[in-house]
């Protein structure tokens, strides 16, 4: 089964997206902060990571930076899911290797899973 890792600190959003991703037939893995997220990423080697930018402790940019330095997970595609809509954040995330960027409030879980399929195709 294809594994998708969701790193999102808000419990409600995390549970909703896990439900949607599982419903689409993926194996959903979830983490509520960067440290936990990176640990799961190394252990489970998911096919894709959905990453929130504002997280307690390490933020999304820092996670992208650390992933780059980790040989076994640096190739995993990352889709940023964030509340921020600033162009410079998008640019920065893409510069750090993110595949795509979605503003949470602008998209529905259905559209997010559609994006996952596109990136994995």
């Amino acid at each position: 089964m294809i594994k998708i890792l969701i790193i999102e600190d808000d419990k409600f959003l995390r549970e909703l997206i896990v439900q949607k991703v599982s419903g689409e037939g993926y194996e959903a893995l979830a983490a509520s902060d960067g440290t936990e997220g990176l640990k799961i990423a190394q252990e489970e080697k998911p096919s894709l990571i959905l990453l929130d930018l504002i997280l307690p402790g390490m933020d999304g940019f820092e996670i992208l930076l650390q992933m780059k330095a980790m040989e076994e997970i640096k190739h995993i595609p990352v889709i940023i899911l964030s509340n921020l809509g600033q162009k410079e954040d998008v640019d920065r995330a893409v510069e750090l290797g993110a595949k795509d960027y979605m503003i949470k409030a602008h998209f529905t879980p259905g559209e997010i899973t559609k994006k996952i399929k596109e990136v994995l195709a």
């Binding site: 808000d10 409600f12 959003l13 909703l16 997206i17 439900q19 949607k20 419903g23 509340n83 600033q86 162009k87 410079e88 949470k104 409030a105 529905t108 879980p109 259905g110």
Partner: protein, 345 residues
């Protein structure tokens, strides 16, 4: 001058009194004209002193105070008064300064509150949006047509609240002065073209023709906050589409002259009532006929648009006829140099 008016007046009166006493004493003793000279001299000194006290100690500081008060009134609330003049004026300035400090603090708290509340609202609103759309799309089992309609309404209302939250955040940013921080050299026609393209779906759904007239010549790059400029175009386009009924038309033009670029958005919509034209750019204001339409608006779009355009050195205006349509135009000056723009920040 650190003395008080009261002290100055007492001193001058005392001076006159002593001079008069001396003159009366000498006059009684020798019957000479010297006392009269003394009284006259004392009077001249007293009047000179009084004039000096009044102009330097009162009138000049009052003029400075008037200037500062009117600048603060215009919104430059970080300004404070430097102490000048007599003690009484100094006390007034102190009291005024501490009052303005409190006003400034209250304003900052209000803006911070709006900003914080909006940020905090966004995540739960997103959760509601996600839950309702998932239920609607059948992720939690089959839904009937009636259930779907209800969920649709909930999802639309949530979108509406999310938009309001975004608008409020933008207003808070303007009022906090966190604004126009990311300036780039960009082309407004690129932004307009992109926006017109992305609003074709909405136009089709509303059965309104949305057209961009061919742009003549090359539109030069202008220094701008692209994100904010996009917001201006978006607000004007959305208004035009929302308030135009089906079979209507929205025409977008980009023109330039030696001084500026003008972007106009003309619609065949409901128009703006004549008597409300003066209030259309006010914060939270929505025209009476717009409120009757089934369009959700926060009344912040045009307020934001005007603030953004004016911050770029441009102007925004409109022509409208109720029931016939409205044309909004905004301009961006070409003459403003990059350095001048950046130095002003």
């Amino acid at each position: 001058m650190k003395f008080s008016i009261q002290a100055a007046v007492i001193f001058i009166v005392a001076l006159l009194f002593v001079a008069s006493l001396i003159s009366v004493y000498f006059a009684a003793k020798d019957e000479q004209t010297l006392p009269l000279v003394l009284v006259a001299g004392a009077n001249i000194v007293a009047v000179t002193l009084l004039t000096f006290v009044i102009t330097r100690g009162i009138l000049r500081p009052l003029k400075i105070i008037r200037g500062v008060v009117s600048r603060i009134g215009k919104g430059d609330i970080s300004l404070r008064m430097k102490k000048t003049g007599v003690r009484e004026i100094g006390e007034l300035q102190d009291a005024f300064n501490s009052m303005i400090t409190r006003v400034e603090r209250a304003q900052k708290m209000k803006t911070e509150f709006v900003s914080l509340a909006a940020h905090q609202l966004r995540t739960p609103l997103t959760a509601i949006k996600w839950s309702t759309t998932m239920a609607m799309e059948g992720d939690a089992g089959p839904v009937s047509k009636e259930q779907k309609e209800l969920l649709q309404k909930a999802a639309e209302s949530t979108d509406r609240m999310l938009r309001l939250v975004n608008d409020l955040l933008n207003v808070a940013k303007i009022e906090e002065g966190r604004y126009l921080k990311k300036l780039t050299l960009s082309r407004i026609d690129d932004i307009v073209k992109g926006m017109v393209q992305s609003y074709q779906d909405l136009a089709k759904r509303k059965r309104v023709t949305l057209l961009l007239k061919d742009v003549k010549g090359v539109i030069p790059e202008v220094v701008m906050d692209e994100e904010k400029m996009r917001l201006v175009v978006q607000n004007l386009l959305e208004n035009a589409l929302h308030y135009t009924r089906k079979e209507g038309k929205v025409m977008v033009r980009i023109e330039q002259n030696a001084k500026e670029i003008q972007v106009s958005i003309e619609d065949t919509g409901i128009g703006i009532p004549k008597e409300q034209e003066g209030r259309i750019f006010e914060k939270f204001f929505r025209a009476a006929n717009a409120q009757k339409e089934e369009v959700d608006g926060s009344g912040l779009g045009l307020y934001l648009a005007r603030n953004i355009v004016e911050a770029h050195g441009g102007k925004i205006w409109f022509k409208s006829k109720e029931g016939k349509g409205t044309t909004f135009v905004f301009s961006l000056p070409l003459t403003r140099g990059v350095e001048e723009f950046l130095n002003k920040r």
